[in-house]
Symmetry: C2
Subunit: 306 residues, 2 copies
Amino acid sequence: MDHFADRLVAALREKHNPVCVGLDPRWPSLPLEIRRRHDDGTLAGMARGFEEFCCRVLDVVAPLVPVVKPQSAFFEACGPAGLLALQAVLARARRLGLVSILDGKRNDIAATAAAYADAAFAGTPVGDTVEPVWNADALTVNPYLGRDAVEPFVKSARGSGRGVFVLVRTSNPGAGQFQDLVCEGQPLYQHVARAVSAWAQECQGKCGYGDVAAVVGATYPAELSVLRHLMPNVFFLLPGYGAQGATAVDAAPAFQADGLGALVNSSRGILFCYPPEARDWEQSVQAATRAMIADLAQHTSSGRLA
Amino acid sequence: MDHFADRLVAALREKHNPVCVGLDPRWPSLPLEIRRRHDDGTLAGMARGFEEFCCRVLDVVAPLVPVVKPQSAFFEACGPAGLLALQAVLARARRLGLVSILDGKRNDIAATAAAYADAAFAGTPVGDTVEPVWNADALTVNPYLGRDAVEPFVKSARGSGRGVFVLVRTSNPGAGQFQDLVCEGQPLYQHVARAVSAWAQECQGKCGYGDVAAVVGATYPAELSVLRHLMPNVFFLLPGYGAQGATAVDAAPAFQADGLGALVNSSRGILFCYPPEARDWEQSVQAATRAMIADLAQHTSSGRLA
């Protein structure tokens, strides 16, 4: 498979925008028609509802956006049946030509980290073959455990043309409790940023970006400029747009002049932009996606992807 | 259910030792008799092998030790079938009266963190009921995202008599890259330790320990004493004993004078302490468990639990 960053850039150029649709299915917010069809009081029924909902969202957004990001927690909450649904959703994203980022925020050491990574990417070795598990294009990873804990993820990704998105600065209100602590003259998240930049430089695609990327909350715009400067060859994934309060103007500093360099994620703002009883909810999802694309094109350099 | 720490202390007193057996099934290390029975070239076959192996290990160690820690990565590596096996292993641990710590190192924010937590503990709400998913007694959690990202785990645990083990100082060689950075005069891991201590003090059991505990690598013994002092009401889970190089002497500073305060984990050193072709591997597992109990009793205050 081609280098992850080259595939990502090709997808952004093909769709002319940097939107990532987050697939965070929440049962109480799902369209009533879907809940009614699958509600049998079991986790398996909930999982089938999640699968139908996410696959229909994928069908709506696939012609419009380059990237989707399923949130593993909501699928895991349905147990093994939910993880079958996650597999189906990721497989459909792949068939539709979307780049997928599995949002698992995984982290561990040595062979354990490698087990998570192989599952996320090329698959788990079984005898002489490798069996795909999630088969995602990228995975989010938590860096707290340090270099040798992130490297098994990077190695596995690199071996199969996939990418690793390392949490640098998260979008939540309390993110700063540890991430903002000043160590040797710089906040912790900047130390993480430097490590991410070094990992990214080890293996750059033809586009100049590395296969290690950064998660940086759009809810902290002042920090985005600093981080853009610290990580010139790193793609950013920006959570926090929309429901979490960040605007396109807030996201703007993450972009390079040519419109590349950042993905902006929206989950609830696209998935649940209608009342549950709406029958034409897919039209609302489509309209919200188009509105987000236009908003970003107006207020960030992403308009130059057009 | 009773307070998590009271249940944990009762289990340690009943078994007279602080051993946690880590359930990290790795296909190439499994006894040949199990591999032969389940090897059909599929992840489902591997998952059935993991389930049989872990359940047989549970049967051997349940009369001896208080706590087990399944590593979710190895089950996830088999996909949905692996997670059915994880459910079966956790259910058997519960039936055998063992305290279970699901080692998932989960982390996320707000409703997403709550989804992971509910799945780990009491279960996922479905209509008017709650359906169990993993039903573990405790879960390991990564603190990098800060207070408001850890609190959904703590809240969910507290509501159902479960516990949260927060990564403070991990056992891997590169742990210090970020954890040792000195911020405001103290290394980062000590800032995390103070936060863990505060969380633990919010809800203490009759035994005096909180329902928030700490993961602290036994591979860094000098730091154990400092951390023991910083977190007087916090139980420690110590990875790193045995295969990762830490000894009982290294683990000693984590214990209080009465023999409480710490769990020492061993995974490979117990699970795979025999050649794969061994037929009497369960006797080897039993002997290795007994040897570890004796080693800890000799070199730490845990002998006082006897």
